[in-house]
Structure formats: C-alpha cells, structure tokens
C-alpha cells in the first residue's frame, strides 16, 4: 500500500514535466540527441580518418569510430542526466520555488527526488536508444549488442542522475554550475573517451579508473565492440553503488533543505 502511494506521488511529479513540454522545448530535446551524434561524426569519422584502426590493449583491432561511439553514448547519458538533475532541478528548487508548492501537498521530498529522476531517465533513455539505432545503421555495433548495451546506458543515466541531485542540494548559486560544467567536461575528455585509458601516464590512469564515466565507458564499450579487455562486473558494481549512495544522500539533504 505504502509503496503504491509513494510510486503514485512520485509519478505525479514526473507528470508535471510532461505537461511542461512545449514546442520550443522540443527543439532543445532534439538538440540533446544531436550533440553526441555531431561529436561522433566529427571525432569518430573525421578524426578517425587520421587515426585509422586502433589496437586495443587486449590485442583486438577496432575502427576508431567504433571505439569512440560507445564513449559518446556514455557521456551523452551522463550529460543528459546531469543537465536535468542539476541545472533544471536547481532552477525548479531555488528559482521557481516549485517544490515549496509541491510540499504543501501529500507529496514528500524523497518522492520529488524519485519523480524527477524517473523523468530524467525516460528522457535520457530515449536519447540512448536513438543513438544505438544510429550506431547499428553506421555498422559500429550489431543489433543484438545494441540491445544488450541499452540497459547499461540506462544504469549510467540513473547513476549520474542520482549524483547530480546530490550535487544540486549542495549548490549555493548559479556560479557553482560553472564548476560542475567544467568537471563534467574534464570527465568527458579524460575518461578513456578518445584514447584507451592504458595510454595515459600512470598517475592520471589511476584517477581515471575511479571516474564513474570511465566505468560506464568501459562497460558499454565492452558490450558494443565485443572486446574483452574491460571489467564489466566491477563497472556494474561501481555504478550501482553510485546510484544507491546518491539517492540516499539526495533524499536526506532535500528533506533538510525544504522542510525548515
């Protein structure tokens, strides 16, 4: 009974976001899909022509585009989840004061967190699915592998969504988003995205191993290219842990921030 009530109330929060979908917003949504695709074409194909094939540490040889594509997929899952749970979430909480209104109803703080996260995931999953279709048509992976990679992208989105919400509850103002944006860009550059992590200098290499984006890239790349060099179980465990911890901290912090 309780779980049903919680789920119902969380869903009513996601429902609000569906109602807010307006014509101009569709363009923004579309551009969210376009961006990783543009990167894939520019870096994967354009720069790929300069790089040629890549020999992975495991000895397998893959086309550069096939190497970069799963990384673009993982980072777009990351940035989609982060933009919805940091920028938009913060705006609704601090600027529009939406949640002050919601909290006057039976909906509780952790149900808001759950509802917002669910929405971010629906949006992110649509992007991922579309990108996987593109990868299959460009012959960068097979249909079956794409199907297997889909849940991994959803998990990636969830983990970063929970992380983003936690970050939002610590933000003091918009200027803090510059820091988040920069950190996100640094992750994007250094998470084994464009070159194998093995080619980094030793110190950087170990930092990279800890990056949640690297774990996601490792997991998804292993699936879409069918190479065996990664540590899929470690990746899975790490992302699930980030998700659980993020949700727990975010719900606690929101309760504290909003119920003063």
């Amino acid at each position: 009974m309780l779980a049903i009530a919680v789920g119902r109330r969380a869903l009513s929060v996601s429902e609000r976001n569906v109602a807010a979908l307006k014509s101009a917003y569709w363009l923004v949504l579309l551009s969210g899909f376009l961006e990783p695709l543009l990167y894939l074409l520019s870096i994967g194909i354009g720069v790929g022509a300069l790089v040629g094939d890549l020999t992975l540490p495991g000895g397998e040889v893959v086309a550069y585009a096939a190497f970069v594509a799963p990384a673009m997929l993982a980072s777009s899952a990351m940035s989609g989840a982060l933009s919805e749970t940091t920028f938009n979430f913060f705006g609704k909480m601090k600027y529009m004061k939406l949640y002050d209104g919601v909290l006057a109803t039976p909906v509780q703080p952790f149900e808001i967190a759950l509802g917002e996260l669910a929405w971010a995931m629906v949006r992110g999953s649509l992007y991922s699915a579309a990108f996987l279709v593109v990868m299959v048509t460009m012959d960068l992976t097979t249909g079956l592998r794409a199907l297997a990679a889909f849940p991994a992208t959803v998990l990636t989105g969830f983990a970063f969504g929970a992380l983003g919400m936690t970050l939002s509850t610590f933000m003091r103002g918009w200027q803090d988003f510059d820091v988040v944006g920069s950190a996100q860009f640094a992750l994007f550059l250094f998470s084994g995205t464009f070159v194998p992590a093995e080619s980094y200098p030793a110190v950087l290499r170990w930092v990279v191993e800890l990056s949640p984006l690297y774990r996601a890239v490792d997991l998804i790349r292993g699936i879409t290219t069918g190479t065996s060099g990664g540590h899929p179980w470690l990746d899975l465990a790490y992302l699930v842990a980030v998700l659980a911890l993020g949700l727990w901290v975010a719900a606690r912090r929101m309760g504290k921030l909003l119920a003063k």
């Binding site: 009530a5 039976p106 003063k260």
Partner: protein, 319 residues
Amino acid sequence: MSDPGARVRGVATEPLIHARGLVKRFGSFTAVDGIDVDVQPGEAFGFLGPNGAGKSSTMRMVGCVSPPTGGTLRILGMDPRRDGPAIRGRLGVCPQLDNLDPELTVRENLTTYARYFGIPRKVARQRADELLDFVQLTERAGSKVEPLSGGMKRRLTIARALVNEPEIVLLDEPTTGLDPQARHLVWERLFRLKQQGVTLVLTTHYMDEAEQLCDRLVVMDAGKIVAEGSPRELIERYSTREVVELRFTAESQEGFADKLAGIGERVEVLPDRILLYVEDGDAALAAVHERALTPASVLERRSSLEDVFLHLTGRTLVD
C-alpha cells in the same frame, strides 16, 4: 465546498487546529515562542502581527512543512510529525509569495497540482474549470503565468489551494501587494468560501483585511500571542470607542499634550499629530475648544483594529 452545515456540525467536539505551547526555533532564534491556539470548524481565524512576529512560521507548522521544535500540535485530529501527507491532503495552502509554475499554463497549473493529491485526471480537469470560473480567470485559462497581473496570480494561487476541496485553507498574507480593486475581489471570493463552510486561517498585517474577514483573531508580537478575540472585542478591550486626531501648526506637537491632559482616556503624541482616545468624539472636541485650543485640522473617527494593533505592538519599525 460541499454542504457547509454538515462540516460545522460534524466535528464540533474537537478543534480543527489545536496548539499548546507551540515553539519554533531556528538555531538560537526563537520565531514562535510557546503559543496556544484553537481553530474551530467553519470559522475564519486570523494571525495579526508586524513582520517577523512569527506568523509565517506558525503557518508553515500548521501546513505540515515545518516540524515544530516543541509543544503540542494537532491538525484535523492528527499528528503532523507522523501523518504529514494525510493532513496535507486535506489542507489548501496559499503561500505568502506565489510559487506558480512559470512553464505551465494557468489551467495546467491547477490540473498538475491536483495530480499531486492523487485526484484522477478527469476530475482534475473538471475541477480546474470550476475553480477558474470561481476566481474569474476562465478567459486566461490557456495563458502562461508570467503575463498575469499580481491580482490574477494571487487568485490563481488561491484557486490552486482549493483544488483538493480542502477542509482548512491557509492563506499567508493573501492580499499583500495588490491594488484596491484586486484586494476587494479576493476578499469577496474568500468570503464566499467562508459562507460555504470552509475554515479559513490567514495571516495579515492589514487591519481592514482582518476586520473584513476574521471571526476571531490573535495578535502576535515577537513570537508570542499578545491578545485574542473577535475584532469588536479587541477594540473594546484595548481601545476606546472613538479617536480624535488633532494637528497643530506649531513646530512640535509636544507642548499641547499637557494642555489636553484629562480629555478622554488616553492622549498619544505623534511627531505630526496628537490622538485622543475617547468615548464621545464630539464631547471631547467641545472640551478642546473650551480650553481655547485651536488645532489646524481635526479628524473624528471610530476606533479601528489598527489602533489596537499599534497600541499592542508599538509604533517602532521592526524590520
């Protein structure tokens, strides 16, 4: 908004809101300092007080969004700490600052809000239309919130607070910042709700608003309740029937205070005028003329809640 009589009869035994020794502290600052309040079904109850008196903190506790630091609080017979969602499901809240959703239309603001209460979509749409009609916003149903005037936004917030057909409506300064026309429209709508048997709890620092709407009110100052009663009772207890305002042309009004001593119950000297609190204004004025005093201007009026308010909470600014 169902049959008003039933509601009044049904729960006559227990007050809808019951607080004893209610305390709210933020760190070392005590916003609400041990207040006792009972609100009966069907009444319109007001919290009066200057800014910072603790009205809004009290409202947030009653609205179950702010846990009390101490004391007893029961709302609709339930404990806010345990039954928050259940209580909030039966309350309507109109906060001090409108927090409408700028990304939604006027009508969507009502329908999405209804969903937070678990109201089915079809019912939500129907109720939204009824409420838009009630607050005279039907013509703006498809408009965004931003271009609405302050009065329209306020009415929409009030409509939103009614979407779950609440038993108690909490209104935090419902007409602050509105122009006179808009204020009167809001008052008129709130009066209709009251007639329908909805219990209203409101805060205000406008005396005319309290006199218009409240059956009973408490005056708060520095977190404490300093007076309680109906507007009429408070005026009788803390002021005289009439007030005479005298203005003298001299540099300072001070010198005239002694000459006026003994007329009426109390003489109050302000920088620009002197107030005489009296039972009979005409008689008092005659007494003034008898003493050969000729004020530059004279205003005779009935005592208002404002006199009570200023008497109880002082004239000094509390910002």
